[in-house]
Amino acid sequence: MNLYNIIFTGSEQALAAAKGMLAEAIEKNGRDHKVAFPDTAYSLPCIYAATGQKMNTLGDLEGALTVVESLINRTHLLEHALNSGLATALAAEVIEAIKYATMEEPYQAPCAGHVSDPIIRSLGVPLVTGDIPGVAVVLGECPDAETAAKVIKDYQSKGLLTFLVGKVIDQAIEAGVKMSVELRVIPLGYDVTSVIHVVSVAIRAALIFGGLTPGDLSGLLEYTSKRVPAFVNAFGPLSELVVSAGAGAIALGFPVITDQTVLEVPMNLLTQKDYDKVVATSLEARNIKIKITEIPIPVAFAAAFEGERIRKAD
């Protein structure tokens, strides 16, 4: 199937899933049931930044899905493909918001789910100073735990902030990758939709540090593409939904590098089958240059290890 149709299909799937969940949630809890993510002043950040509207109740979310629907136009032009990707992102945020609104504890350790404002503020300064040179979103499943660990640790040793989504979380744990905000490796969740929590980080960075006006979508996209040095590594078979979410990343200016055979788009959607080159390929694609002062010591050395706790057993 052609790339644009895959994206449109994924968006329609996301929209249908969100609609289904919302109808069910409203039936159970009523339209006025409160909706919010914990510890944020930005309501549902992606929807707020894109539309300028705050979502307070499940009823409000119906309006949000109308916006999502309006972003899906199957005309084969890049503009519509990117909008469709954004639609998927917004639908994912609706799905995640419903989880938070209706479930006791939507995310449990090791998964972080929604990232709070204070954490974003704490990451803001090192992002601005370049101490965190980039944000890697590693998503899907590597061929084995070892490969996953190798890629993640490589990012970690270069000081990047890495978010994990999907089975790669288990692979990282299996391979003994240590994870925490301080260690700059944050597992988000197992569902694809949990990737929205990292998008939400980028978008709140634009709102907090970029002083962007909520609703200024083009300004937002310009800020993220110019100022937030993020990229996505998508490993393993890609569903339509993942490809569609990838288009959302590309709309924000974040290149997607995958190990799968896809229809490549120069600088934006790239295939790298050699796992040893994934990191270098990704950094080049996002134009991330790292000042390296190699110190010949027998353990990994990087700012990312600053918050590491050495337990008795270690």
Binding site: H76, L78, E79, L263, V265, L270, K277
Partner: protein, 642 residues
């Protein structure tokens, strides 16, 4: 006259008023003088190839005196147009090949792109190891000159086409043999009492046209690059506003770079610049027109004064000291127009003498000396300029030009991830087409035609295409139109759709790429052929098209025919004289599809034509994307087995 119905160029409006005031007749006046043109000629069923005629086909006289019906007459006329066009391009190429044969280390003509020469020598099995570059050049030139009249075999460049395309040509029997032979064969077969079958005449036309695109024009372009340098990206300006008030304005008009290159050199000669100052001018200002203008703007950034329809108007400014011309697309009317001003209308080629002009023969053997003499003549003429009669219109646009195939590769390297792909390939372009970020690529080429409003169709179609994420490449007077209307600036990205705009941004190009002169349409064949080969497809599988919105010359007919024969759908904004034969229309606009995988489509409304092209490209994408998927699956399977 209503100027808006004549041209959309505002400079031209100003000068048409001036021409009227000065009592100068222009092309636009003559167009009006003709009122309605003869229907028999328009439909192509008037024949005057023998002394029994002229004959014309009507319901009462359905056959000429010899018995030729409308199909035969239309077919013969069409074939002769193709032969005329092929002859023009090829004689141009022949001169360049002769020039290369004259090249020497200390002569007027040197080898500037040695690498390109070596590549060509290897393609043609000319020994290169340990040889002097000029010995190689002379041998390559001799081989090229044989391509015009070799007794055996078929054209050498054909093997550069994708293999499936070569097979189509072979199976159809339209592989051109030698250029002059194909032209002569058409002249023979269209003689009275020879070919009496329109299918055969069109078949012959395709073979002759291929001798243009894949031989004559291709030799012209490659050899020009080798001798004068392969174009690289550079900035320039276009439209009559590039003429300067207090400089000696020289306009170069015509086609062959052997002359224009020498004029460029001579215009920079310190002695002549000093002479210009002595005459009271600030210096020498060179500007180009038509394809010779395109050649020098591609290689030197020389400003473009205007296009085919502005040649008279340039003189009407009263600010042109000399209009230096060689061959092709030069109005004989220029002699008359120049008479009304101080302008020297200088013809230089024995192949194109024009009554009433100043003839100063240019010979490649004495190239620089001739160029010097001609420029000096222009400089000395500055004192005759009548300031009262000068009106330089103010409009001009910036343009980024110089996109040879090599320059395009260079730009594409900007988006190659060094950890994935090697540099120097067309893969980024192929990827953009495959993924659909670019919906397609279209070559907008050709002339200006008095049947329509000058520049309107070019500009309308280009704007529509880029808005729909279709990359536009252009040559000839299409390129001049794009440059004049600001479509070759990087800022023009904002007129493009998001996909094309993104590509332009990343690759750092304007949405409309200047590939050069009319012989440089062969660059388009190179890029499309190269992309097809990279994708393991035929040229007819790609979502690409060619369009000649305002075509007028026989060269355009030859170009359109070789583009179709190369598997690229071709769209015309002016109806060729073929409607007199239903069979001709049937073949050209229908059956060619089954023969060569492409056909002609004609629509004289530019807005409609643009929409048809866009829809056809989308239709073609379905086929293209299926093939892409097939190739990807094959690759995955092959990978799995390994």
């Amino acid at each position: 006259m209503d100027k808006k119905m004549m041209t959309i160029d505002l400079n031209s409006h100003v000068l048409l008023d001036k021409a009227e005031k000065d009592g100068v007749e222009t092309m636009y006046d003559r167009k009006q003088g003709f009122k309605s043109q003869c229907g028999f000629g328009l439909q192509g069923n008037c024949c005057r190839i023998c002394g029994m005629g002229p004959c014309r086909i009507t319901p009462k006289t359905p056959r000429g005196i010899c018995g030729a019906d409308e199909h035969v007459i239309v077919g013969r006329n069409f074939a002769r147009m193709v032969a005329g066009g092929t002859a023009a391009h090829s004689d141009h190429a022949r001169d360049i090949a002769h020039t290369m044969a004259l090249s020497s280390r200390d002569g007027n003509y040197k080898i500037r792109d040695e690498e390109k020469l070596i590549i060509l020598a290897k393609e043609w099995d000319v020994e290169t190891e340990g040889r002097d570059i000029y010995d190689i050049a002379h041998e390559v030139a001799d081989v090229a000159l044989m391509e015009f009249g070799k007794p055996h075999g078929v054209a050498r460049f054909l093997k550069n086409a994708p293999e499936p395309r070569q097979k189509i040509w072979k199976d159809l029997g339209i592989e051109p043999r030698a250029i002059d032979r194909e032209i002569a064969t058409i002249m023979h077969s269209t003689h009275i009492g020879c070919t009496g079958d329109i299918d055969s005449l069109i078949h012959m036309s395709l073979r002759t046209a291929l001798a243009d695109g894949w031989v004559g024009s291709m030799i012209g372009t490659r050899f020009s690059d080798i001798l004068f340098g392969t174009p690289t990206v550079r900035e320039t300006e276009a439209n009559l506003g590039v003429l300067e008030d207090n400089k000696v304005n020289i306009i170069l008009h015509g086609h062959e770079p052997s002359l224009s290159e020498m004029i460029v050199l001579a215009s920079e000669d310190p002695e002549l610049v000093a002479l210009a100052k002595e005459m009271g001018a600030d210096g020498i200002n060179l500007a180009g027109m038509c394809c010779t203008g395109n050649e020098v703007t591609m290689r030197h950034g020389v400003k473009t004064a205007g296009d085919f329809h502005q040649q008279e108007l340039a003189i009407v400014t009263g600010a042109v000291e000399a209009m230096i011309v060689d061959v092709q697309c030069i109005f004989p009317a220029l002699a008359k127009v120049a008479d009304c001003y101080h302008t020297k209308f200088i013809t230089t080629s024995p192949k194109a003498k024009i009554a009433g002009s100043t003839y100063m023969e240019f010979s490649e053997e004495t190239a620089y000396a001739d160029g010097y003499k001609i420029v000096k003549e222009a400089v000395l003429n500055f004192k005759n300029r009548d300031k009262e009669k000068v009106l330089i219109p103010e409009l001009k646009s910036k343009a980024t030009v110089g996109y040879s195939a090599d320059a395009i590769l260079g730009q594409l390297d900007r988006v190659v991830n060094s950890h994935i792909d090697p540099a120097g390939t067309l893969k980024p372009l192929a990827d953009c087409l495959k993924s659909g970020v670019l919906r397609g690529a279209v070559g907008v080429v050709g002339c200006n035609n008095a049947k329509g409003v000058s520049n309107l169709a070019h500009v309308t179609i280009m704007k529509e295409l880029i808005k729909n994420d279709i990359l536009v490449v252009t040559t000839g007077c299409g390129a001049s139109a794009a440059a004049k209307f600001g479509l070759m600036t990087k800022e023009a990205r904002k007129l493009a759709g998001k996909g094309l705009a993104t590509v332009c941004d990343l690759v750092d190009i304007p949405p409309v790429l200047h590939l050069g002169s009319c012989v440089d349409c062969s660059r388009i064949l190179d890029v499309v052929g190269g992309t097809a080969k990279l994708l393991d497809m035929d040229m007819s599988d790609l979502p690409v098209a060619g369009v000649a919105p305002e075509w007028m010359s026989e060269k355009a007919v030859a170009i359109g025919s070789y583009v179709v024969a190369s598997g690229i759908d071709t769209y015309l904004g002016v109806m060729p004289p073929v409607t007199g034969s239903s069979r001709a229309v049937e073949i050209l606009c229908g059956e060619l599809q089954d023969m060569v995988g492409a056909k002609f489509t004609v629509n004289e409304n530019p807005q409609e034509l643009a929409q048809i092209i866009i829809q056809d490209i989308e239709k073609k994408r379905v086929h293209f994307e299926n093939l892409v998927e097939e190739r990807m699956n094959e690759k995955v399977e092959a990978g799995a087995e390994a």
